[in-house]
Symmetry: C2
Subunit: 130 residues, 2 copies
């Protein structure tokens, strides 16, 4: 099993070396050891980084992700947090779906200014919490 150095991990993950060091500092990833001063990583770090990317894209902060990657099944507090986060994602999916509809309308609308269009406003404001 070949260890990867930071440049390789960076190349294959699409992240900057500086970001990898930052992530290590924040506890999201860990190197396996050192070759001199240089970090060496197992190939599973790539899977970890893929998860990090996905979570970030879903609105998790790095602190949340760091918390999550070390989680074990008996971590009840985290489970509650995850369930709550899933609820948040429900709301966000709703919101994005509506905003997408508004944007699609705005892309063809003839009203001036666009944001005063009743149809646009309607799509935006179909919110339970107005």
């Amino acid at each position: 099993m070949a260890l990867l150095d930071i440049a390789e991990v960076a190349e294959r993950s699409g992240l900057a070396p500086s970001a990898l060091r930052y992530y290590e500092r924040r506890g999201l990833i860990a190197s396996e050891g050192r070759n001199g001063l240089r970090r060496t990583f197992g190939s599973e770090v790539l899977v970890r980084l893929s998860l990090v990317a996905c979570a970030r894209a879903s609105g998790f902060t790095l602190a949340e992700i760091a918390r999550f990657v070390t989680a074990t099944p008996d971590d009840t507090e985290l489970r509650v947090h995850l369930a709550a986060k899933a609820e948040q994602l429900d709301a966000e999916i709703d919101r994005l779906t509506r905003m997408r509809a508004s944007l699609r309308h705005a892309a063809v609308c003839t009203r001036s200014p666009l944001v005063e269009c009743p149809e646009f406003k309607q799509a935006i404001s179909d919110a339970p919490a107005a």
Copy 2:
């Protein structure tokens, strides 16, 4: 038509006065005039702030929002941008939907650590761009 002062707008919008001043500076909102030095706003600023909140929650930057709130139908470049943004929202909705499924699974999973669960990984990695 009663003009609102910044404290009232802040109260009713849930934003800090400092945020309102910041938004004004960035061109997202405008006061109607001044009472002495104090800003006075028309009640339609509340609708505007609602739109701003919605757009922010959908991933727009303040610069994008400022651009958008002044848009007119002949603004072709912006229309292209809006259509592209709607596509982005498509992808993001997909992503969030998958992440939500992963979180729901993680909330009940018995695997340790949670992120090594194959089912979890599967839900995350059902990505066209892995």
